[in-house]
């Protein structure tokens, strides 16, 4: 395909970041039926929080933790303070989350300004190591590892814990879960917070190699949407496949026609919608 291993790794590490961001999106979409268009804004917010924490404390780990907690807290306010008024009405929820995205972006612009920032990475991850036939930055390999780790943890959570079983049951039939005596609302809130935390985590991970700037949220959002459209609503494996496809295609696009790179994610989305409107692993509700 005319890609060297350096570009292949670039595509895969970008895919790992996309997976972390899109998995949160697809979880919330699958269970709560909320298309959270403020997901991109939460990503950016997480990145900024991570940046401020990491520069203040000098610890990248603390930055990640602060971003996850901070964004989850914003998510809690969003869910309990705003989304509760429009429960069960898909379209109004989506449009409301859109309004939230605008407000959050503008707030971030007030607090952090319009400059672009890069989250400082820990010294441990400086430099490059030999991989395949090339040298590759350690930090981006770390992102790749994080992507795989998040996938494994989420997979274990969904398939081997009680909460995961409730989430899966809730995706299929929330009323039935409620009827069997489970407080499904609590599961919903937890899932929403988890989704937000993943957006925050993605913000820090991405903020260290893609930089953070006022329109970064829109860019990551469109990639996440593409991942979810390709992978299917609520499917973890679908999100992983979609992320790898979009990540690799985007890298190829950047190598071959840098100015029109955005266009290449258009192709697979179009093809999928023509044959499988619900995405690769999506199921009809």
């Amino acid at each position: 395909m005319g890609m060297n291993s350096f570009q292949l790794l670039n595509g895969l590490t970008f895919a790992a970041l996309l997976f972390v961001v899109a998995s949160g999106f697809t979880l919330v979409f699958g269970l709560l039926r909320i298309v959270n268009l403020s997901h991109g804004a939460l990503y950016l917010l997480g990145g900024y929080i991570g940046y401020s924490t990491a520069t203040a404390t000098g610890s990248f780990g603390l930055g990640m933790l602060a971003a996850m907690l901070g964004v989850a807290a914003v998510g809690l306010v969003l869910d309990q303070g705003l989304l509760r008024f429009v429960r069960g009405q898909e379209l109004r929820q989506v449009l409301l989350s859109l309004g939230v995205a605008l407000v959050l972006n503008d707030l971030a612009l007030v607090i952090w300004g319009g400059d672009s920032f890069t989250v400082p990475t820990p010294e441990l991850l400086f430099g490059a190591v030999p991989v395949l036939d090339t040298f590759y930055p350690k930090y981006r390999l770390f992102v790749l590892g994080m992507g795989v780790l998040v996938f494994v943890l989420l997979w274990l959570l969904l398939n081997h814990t009680r909460l995961g079983a409730l989430i899966r049951a809730g995706v299929d039939d929330p009323e039935m879960v409620e009827a069997s005596g489970v407080n499904i609302r609590r599961v919903f809130v937890l899932t929403f917070l988890l989704g937000c935390a993943l957006a925050g985590l993605g913000g820090v991970m991405g903020g260290a190699f893609l930089a953070l700037y006022p329109s970064a949220d829109a860019e990551i959002l469109v990639f996440s949407l593409a991942v979810v459209v390709i992978g299917g609503r609520g499917s973890l494996v679908g999100a992983a496949i979609g992320a790898v496809m979009v990540g690799l295609l985007n890298t190829m696009g950047q190598v071959w026609f840098p100015e029109l790179a955005y266009f290449v994610i258009f192709g697979p989305m179009a093809a999928l919608l023509a044959f499988r409107p619900l995405g690769l692993l999506g199921r009809a509700v």
Binding site: V86, L95, A101, L102, V103, L107, L225, E259, Y262, F266
Partner: protein, 308 residues
Amino acid sequence: MNRGMLWLLALLAAAVMPLVLSSYHVDLATRILIFAVLAMSIDVLAGFVGRTSLCHGAIFGVATYVVIWAMAKAGLPAVPAFLAGVVAATLVAALFGLLAVRTSGVYFLLLTVALGMVVWGICLRWTGVTGGENGLRGQDMRPALLLARENFYWLVLAVAALAAWAMQRFVNSPFGLSLRGIRDSESRMRALGYNVPLHLFVGFAVSGFFAGVAGAMYAFFNEYVSPSSVAMGQSVAGLLMAIVGGVGTLFGSFIGAAAIILLENTVSWYTDRWQAVLGLVFILTMIFAPEGILGTIRRLGAVTRRAR
């Protein structure tokens, strides 16, 4: 007084406005009319086909880009450039329509967000043609006759009135009625033998055509275009105008556009935080008045009529 008379009066009132308003306010009124056409084009889909689009700002912006590019870079005269802009927007809408008709509800919205952002991404990155972040600037684009802002306003008013009339005819035509049938029950229309995807595709393309008309007019109004003209904010603003006016009311878009643009204008006097205010208005509208201004008036009217 019947409804036709009412609209004729409103049109007359709009026509005499430049005689009493300051030049600044004439520009504001021109902007309102242009965006009302955009909002109406969104309402054709949202109100009569049941498909909420978030890529019409991008379709609008494509027309703006093409008109300015055609005049500034390709040296076309005004009329062919205008037509090229509208055709380009309609083609983009047709392409998007091909994909979008496969989906409905939230999926439709999701897909249109992604499609609109692809356009934005291209306008931002394809610096050779679009000027990237700096955008494109046109010079002396308006023909001599339209240089006076009153004349330009009257032309925009005429086009907007014509577009509103055409859209009204479209949604009330037999074809428009079958679109409403699809909105209410897709499976029923399919069972009756209607070609649902074809109907949706045509509906999308027609709606995109009118968004293109608005965008092409905007090119002559603003004489400058940058990626922010095709960004999601533009689609959001257009949709919000349609919603505030009242989805499914079509002419409510004029009220919605006036409300949002006047608000933007007022807010800008005090603060730079228009995006946050826009978001806040969106949130509050969704929570308290999802039917919009005209929709709420109509509902209250229906309630009092029933009470009588």
